[in-house]
Structure formats: structure tokens, C-alpha cells
């Protein structure tokens, strides 16, 4: 039996004036309340699109200067009909998957080691701080010299972009382990390995996932800027060419693809964060 059920079975705590109402707000929001965020969010998006469409329809500016959402939608459909987009998406997706995937693995390992071993942190701190305070995109010309204009140079810049926020957040998660919990674990004679697996690691998960989420933003920046500067294929390359040839609706359609990817990845990670934090009492205002 959960504590919520216990409360329900024993509604003394609910107050005398209007117990049903009190309990509803504490235990489960009503149906409308539950969908409130989605409904209000959708209305807000529709409002912005409508205003945008109306302004565009007034045709104060030309389509190539200010296309409306409808123009962008049509451009999007056309993109997929022509079929080149698949190669661009595959290229960008591959860069993102490899670069971001490597950043997750290495960032996690380095971050955990830095958090757990103080001396390793002392050794790594100057290097991590150097790269974290440098816009990693500034290294792109170097990567082009090293790796050429194929996907390797983009993978490198995506990897470096996402790596450092992941390292720093993972390390912070380990370092933020409550001293009281460590004391309890030591008092019961827990081995270091057990402390790491059962106390430190689960406590760091929210920090780690935040690092992953921040990494997504940096990785997508790497994809777009990397391809804007020099690439053969890719969604960023598509944006660059469409922009240079004044195909503004097409350019915006590609931007929306990037934004959509970012939103999907961020949402997945947000869901994971919530799942790992299901032990936090849900208090709705």
C-alpha cells in the first residue's frame, strides 16, 4: 500500500470543511487539469502560427524575405518528395549519432572518474576547464585540416561540443553525494564498490541526464555550424545552400527539422529524468 492509498483509506487528514475537494487536489488532478499543459501549449503555438501567417499574407515583404508557415510547410513536403533530403538527414543523423554517442560514453566515464578520484579531477580540471570555456566550434578549421570536409570533422566537433557539459554534470553528480549517506554506508561497512554502485551512481543519475540534455543542444550546434562551414551533405549544408540561393521557405523547413530533432531528443531525456525521479512526491499547485 502506498502512502497515498493510506491517506485515502484514512481521510482524517483531508480537513473538515470539504474533504472530497481537498483530496482531489492532493491525490489526482481532474481530467481537464491533467491535459491543461498540452491544451494551453497547443493553443499558444496555433496563435503564433496564425499571427505569422497573417503578417506573411499581408505581403509587406516578399516570400523570400518573410515566408509564411504555409510556405514553409509546402517547402517541407517538396523536400521529401524530391528525395535529396534523405541523404542529408542520413548524413547529419550519422554525424550526430556517432559524435553524441561517443560523447555520452566518454563523458560518463571521465565524469564518474573525476568525481570519484580527487587526484584524477586535479589532473583533468585544467584541461576540462580550457575546453569548456572555449567555443569548441572554433576548432572546426583544425578538424577540417585533420579530417577533411567529410563527416569526420563534424563528428569531432559534435563530440567535443557535447562531451564537456556531460563530463561536468556527471562529475557534479558524484561530488554532490550527500555526506550523510556516505556516512551511513561506511558505518554499515559498505565496500567502496558498493557505495559507488548503490549510493553514488543512483544519486548522480539526475545530474547525468541533465548533462546529456545540455549535450544535445551543443551537439546540434555542432551539426549545423559544422555543415554550414564545409560539408558535402547534411541538413546544415541544406540550410546553407538554401540560404545562399534565397530559397527561404526551404531553409526554414530544414531549420524545423533540426529543431524537431532537438525537441524529440530533449523530451526523451526529460522523460527519463522524470522516470528516475518517481520517488519525488508529486505536488501540483
Amino acid at each position: 500500500m502506498s502512502i497515498k492509498e493510506a491517506d485515502r483509506a484514512n481521510p482524517v487528514t483531508a480537513g473538515e470543511s470539504d474533504p472530497t475537494r481537498e483530496r482531489r487536489s492532493l491525490v489526482k488532478p481532474s481530467r481537464i487539469r491533467q491535459y491543461e499543459p498540452v491544451v494551453i501549449g497547443t493553443l499558444s503555438v496555433m496563435f503564433v502560427l496564425t499571427v505569422w501567417q497573417l503578417v506573411a499574407n499581408a505581403r509587406i515583404y516578399s516570400v523570400l524575405f518573410l515566408p509564411g508557415p504555409w510556405d514553409v510547410a509546402q517547402a517541407m513536403v517538396k523536400l521529401f518528395q524530391q528525395g535529396d533530403i534523405w541523404l542529408d538527414m542520413a548524413t547529419s543523423g550519422q554525424e550526430l549519432a556517432i559524435g553524441y554517442g561517443m560523447a555520452i560514453i566518454l563523458g560518463l566515464v571521465i565524469g564518474l572518474l573525476m568525481g570519484w578520484y580527487t587526484r584524477f579531477q586535479y589532473a583533468m580540471d585544467p584541461i576540462v576547464n580550457f575546453f569548456y570555456s572555449t567555443p569548441r566550434i572554433a576548432l572546426l578549421p583544425l578538424f577540417i585540416i585533420w579530417f577533411g570536409i567529410d563527416i569526420q570533422s563534424k563528428i569531432a566537433v559534435i563530440f567535443l561540443g557535447a562531451l564537456f557539459p556531460i563530463i561536468i554534470n556527471t562529475m557534479a553528480g558524484v561530488r554532490n553525494t550527500e555526506a550523510a549517506l556516505l556516512g551511513v554506508a561506511r558505518s554499515f561497512g559498505a565496500s567502496d564498490a558498493l557505495i559507488f554502485r548503490r549510493v553514488v551512481l543512483p544519486g548522480s543519475v539526475p545530474f547525468i541526464l541533465t548533462g546529456f540534455r545540455l549535450g544535445v543542444g551543443h551537439a546540434l550546434t555542432g551539426v549545423v555550424v559544422g555543415e554550414l562551414i564545409a560539408a558535402r551533405h547534411g541538413v546544415g549544408q541544406l540550410i546553407a545552400i538554401a540560404g545562399q540561393t534565397f530559397q527561404t521557405p526551404k531553409m526554414l523547413a530544414a531549420v524545423i527539422l533540426i529543431a524537431g530533432t532537438g525537441m524529440v531528443l530533449t523530451t526523451i531525456l526529460q522523460r527519463m529524468e522524470n522516470r528516475f525521479q518517481s520517488w519525488r512526491p508529486q505536488i501540483r499547485r
Binding site: 556516512g183 558505518s187 520517488w279 519525488r280
Partner: protein
């Protein structure tokens, strides 16, 4: 009433800290001599900062002693062991684990019990501390008193020979604290564990203990030992017993001498006697 043989013996225990900032050696405890008898409930009271918690941490084996000897059943204490279990001032529960998972954490860390056995015995402990029905609740859903019950159950599940309690009720409100004291005595009389209880609450110490030890101010030493000859089982009314109040006066005066400020300025903070 209890076996007179010593469970825990401290002889001239000195505990020192190296203070990194001032680069000085700080003496927290200076030559503590005491004995905790098997099955006894011993309480240590003292002015705040007198080193009583530090002493308890040394008994748990979390910090080393600089000199003297500290033995449990004649064996020198050097590190935490399954023969002792601590109930902490802060509950120290893993927030992502349920009550059941937290109660099991102690035996899990000691690797002293199989999982199935741990689950069924943990449920018994949860029952014993009055938390049945809350096995699947998370710590953040519990009140402070309930969290301390989990803290206690976690220690009891490891079946220690000696229970160490570090001001476990200090952060609870007055009513909850009294209820917890009553329940602790019930559990203690059932389990017959030797108990070493640290507190700054004189009434709590007298109510719970067979003997109360008063520490001096820092660096802490044993100043006074008071045998509490109140009959057991004790209910909360014993706190108004004239004998109880005599003990309280005696201990209060002993502690008061240790406080640097003149007595007149402390009258306001004196417990109602």
C-alpha cells in the same frame, strides 16, 4: 537486572582532529573512561560541542582514536563492524529507495543476509517499528518521525550486539519525540540490545537510560555517572516522578558548571524543575 560484564570498555580514550584551516591539532575527547555493560542502556549527555558524537563515531569505528583503548567484548575497535549499528541524527535514507529498500540497506552493505531472508526479516522490523503498510513509500513521503523509524529499523535488521544512537530524536517535534522515546524503550526491552545513546536532552537521557554519563565541555571527559533507579517498564508519566526530577536537577547542575556563561544568564533556558 543486567549482566555486569562489560560489553564496551573505554580506557583513556583521546580523539584528535587535525584542523586544516588553522593548522592545529584539535582535541575533541580527552581521556574518556567508561564501561557499557551487556544489556545496559547507557546515555551520554553533555554541553553541545563536548565531543559526545565524536566519541560515538569512534565507538562505531568511523574515526580513529589517538590514544587509550576502546574495546568491544575485549576486542579493539578499528573499523565499523556488524557487531555495532548506528542510528543517525539525520535519517540518511536513500531517497530513491522505498522504506523496505532502505531498511535492507544495512544488511546489504554488510553482505550478511540473502535477499529473500532480508526481505522477510525487513518486513518484521518494519512491523516492529510501527511502519507496516508503508513498505513501498518513499522517504520524502514520510514525516520526520517515520523516517527515524526507518533509520532505527535499518540498524535493528543488522542484528547488532550494540546499538549506537546519535541524538536520533533531536530534530523531531516535542510530541513525536516523546512517542518515539516510549517506542524505543518497548523495542529495546524486546530486543535486549546493549544501547549507547547520545543526547543533549537531559529528560530523554533519564527516561531512557539505566545510567546517565555527563561529559565535561570540550575536550570531553566523563564528569559524572548517575545511576537511574527508576523501575521498568517506564511510561511517560515517570517524567513527573519526584525521583526523576531529582535526577534532572543533579544532571542539570553538573552540566551547568561546564558552561562558560554565568548561571544567572542561563536560568531562562533551564528546564522546568
Amino acid at each position: 537486572m543486567y549482566d555486569r560484564s562489560a560489553k564496551l570498555a573505554a580506557n583513556g580514550v583521546v580523539i584528535e582532529y587535525w584542523m586544516q584551516r588553522s593548522r592545529t591539532l584539535f582535541t575533541a575527547v580527552q581521556g574518556v573512561d567508561l564501561v557499557v555493560r551487556t544489556g545496559e542502556f547507557l546515555a551520554i549527555v553533555g554541553p553541545s560541542g563536548c565531543g559526545k558524537t565524536t566519541f560515538l563515531n569512534a565507538v562505531d569505528g568511523l574515526i580513529p582514536i589517538a590514544s587509550g583503548s576502546l574495546t568491544l567484548d575485549g576486542r579493539e575497535i578499528s573499523k565499523p563492524g556488524p557487531d555495532r549499528a548506528m542510528v543517525f541524527q539525520q535519517p540518511g535514507l536513500l531517497p530513491w529507495r522505498t522504506v523496505l529498500g532502505n531498511v535492507m540497506f544495512g544488511v546489504e552493505a554488510q553482505r550478511s543476509m540473502g535477499k529473500q531472508e532480508a526481505i522477510s526479516r525487513a518486513k518484521q522490523q518494519i512491523d516492529l517499528v510501527g511502519l507496516s503498510g508503508f513498505e513501498d513509500a518513499y522517504p520524502l513521503e514520510l514525516s520526520g518521525g517515520m523516517q527515524q523509524r526507518v533509520n532505527l529499523a535499518r540498524a535493528l535488521l543488522t542484528d547488532p550486539e550494540m546499538l549506537l544512537l546519535d541524538e536520533p530524536f533531536a530534530s523531531l517535534d516535542a510530541q513525536t519525540r516523546e512517542m518515539m522515546q516510549l517506542e524505543l524503550l518497548k523495542i529495546w526491552s524486546k530486543t535486549k540490545k546493549t544501547a549507547l545513546f547520545i543526547t543533549h536532552d537531559i529528560k530523554e537521557a533519564i527516561y531512557l537510560a539505566d545510567r546517565v554519563i555527563v561529559f565535561t565541555r570540550r575536550p570531553g571527559r566523563v564528569k559524572k555517572v548517575v545511576e537511574i533507579a527508576l523501575s521498568r517498564p517506564r511510561d511517560l508519566r515517570v517524567k513527573r516522578d519526584p525521583q526523576f526530577l531529582t535526577y534532572e536537577d543533579e544532571i542539570w547542575e553538573s552540566i551547568q558548571e561546564e558552561l562558560a556563561v554565568p548561571a544567572e544568564r542561563l536560568i531562562a533556558g533551564m528546564p522546568a524543575a
